[in-house]
């Protein structure tokens, strides 16, 4: 069997170029590195939002991309929950509809996360009827996390998910994310700058050094 994360790709975007190689059996892989190192770009490549120039991406034995084999699964069939650095909520939908967005595409998948549990744990019950433009930064990010979980993904990518949360919420969420990891066996890649967060969340830390230009 191959590793949980089996990634070897060369990324290109504008004049940014970099080669990333990851071979790891970690449940939660933390990704750190200076600003501009390519952390977001790597997540996008895994999610199918950025096509690598070449290489191979496999997660939990599933090949998502392989330039040699001409495999390139479209994003919507990769079953990857992505919590973006900016929340990217749908402005035309209320919070409840944002949370429910992924449900209709996940009907035939094992439901790991129940709507009410997720809402309770993220403390977003009072927001359900709200419009997304009215949310504060942290509120929006909590909804975005909930939305990703409720799409019942096989892999969760978190791009600095707690950066805009206050310390109390942060403390509250970390154990939940840990539980998600342990109970569901869901692989996760966790991008963060906060050493403490990384320590508590991840088995393995991958530091992307500054990109060679």
């Amino acid at each position: 069997m191959s590793a949980v994360f089996d990634i070897d790709v060369s990324l290109a975007r504008g004049d940014f170029r970099r080669q990333v190689q990851v071979q790891s059996d970690a449940r939660v892989l933390a990704l750190t590195g200076v600003s501009g190192a390519g952390k977001t770009s790597l997540l996008q490549a895994i999610a199918g939002l950025l096509r690598p120039r070449a290489g191979r991406i496999a997660v939990a034995g599933r090949t998502l991309f392989d330039s040699a084999e001409r495999i390139d699964l479209p994003a919507h069939r990769r079953h990857i929950g992505f919590v973006f650095q900016d929340a990217r909520l749908f402005p035309h939908l209320a919070v409840r509809a944002n949370l429910g967005y992924g449900a209709r595409f996940a009907k035939d998948r094992t439901p790991r996360f129940a709507f009410d549990d997720v809402v309770a744990l993220l403390g977003i019950a009072p927001l359900l009827a709200r419009r997304t433009v009215n949310l504060s930064g942290g509120e929006a990010q909590r909804v975005a996390i909930g939305r990703a979980l409720l799409s019942q993904p096989d892999l969760l990518l978190l791009d600095e998910p707690l950066a805009s949360l206050d310390q109390a919420r942060r403390e509250e969420l970390i154990p939940y994310l840990q539980r998600v990891r342990d109970d569901s066996g869901l692989p996760m890649i966790y991008v963060s700058h906060v050493a403490d967060e990384v320590r508590r969340m991840a088995d393995t830390v991958l530091a992307l050094d500054a990109a060679l230009r």
């Binding site: 199918g48 990217r88 967005y101 992924g102 595409f105 990703a148």
Partner: protein
């Protein structure tokens, strides 16, 4: 202000023709607007130019081209007649077709601008949540483009009300069948002293379009309200 039965007939016909023209061309307008905003394909500029044609040429030329193509003796017209039993020549359906074509550039441009203004990152987010391209289109792009679509509809509807050059060349002016408000107004312009009747009908046309604009503002505000208020 009283209106004669003939005038009322023209008004009702105009409403029917303009509504059918605007709504029937909507799917095509959305398709063309989307293609021009998002797709990359060879001949895109040609499609763009084609969409603009009805603006560039005098309406009578468009009307003549329609007659040659969709008339009872026209190639497409004969085919439509034989295959589907659809007659456009001298029918109100022909008037609707002419109005739709004349309003098409306006419809497409408004919709295109709306699609161009949508942040592709939202469509990406939808993709990671499992939505395939058609679903992303229906659940994200289309609702976000809604104000532009409404704007395009109003333009197309207004244009259809005012259209008569292409219409009369294609289907002539048959009272009750193809003589719309605009055609009636134009007819009145040809006789000395028709001014009273002209202004009476013009006011009706203005009132209809004013109602359409108010309705569209309301629709757009409701949507915007949903997002911002």
């Amino acid at each position: 202000m009283t209106l004669s039965p003939g005038e009322l007939e023209a008004i009702a016909l105009s409403l029917k023709v303009a509504l059918v023209a605007a709504f029937a061309s909507l799917p095509f307008g959305i398709a063309a607007g989307w293609l021009l905003a998002r797709a990359r394909f060879p001949g895109k500029s040609v499609l763009d130019a084609l969409v603009h044609l009805p603006l560039v040429l005098p309406p009578v030329v468009i009307g003549y081209a329609l007659l040659v193509t969709f008339g009872a003796r026209g190639s497409v017209g004969m085919w439509l007649q034989q295959t589907f039993g659809i007659t456009l020549a001298f029918k109100w359906t022909g008037a609707a077709l002419a109005s739709a074509i004349m309003g098409f550039p306006l419809l497409v441009r408004a919709i295109r601008l709306a699609f161009e203004a949508i942040d592709p990152k939202l469509e990406q987010a939808a993709a990671t949540l499992g939505a395939n391209a058609p679903w992303r289109f229906v659940t994200v792009s289309l609702p976000l483009a809604w104000p532009g679509i409404v704007a395009g509809l109003v333009l197309a509807f207004a244009k259809a009300l005012g259209e008569f050059g292409a219409t009369i060349t294609f289907v002539s002016a048959i009272p009750g069948e193809t003589q719309t408000l605009s055609a009636a107004i134009y007819g009145l312009m040809q006789v000395p002293g028709g001014e009273d009747a002209i202004w009476r009908l013009a006011i009706v046309a203005i009132a209809i379009s004013f109602a359409a604009i108010l309705a569209s503002e309301w629709l757009a505000r409701r949507q915007r309200g949903r997002r911002e208020a």
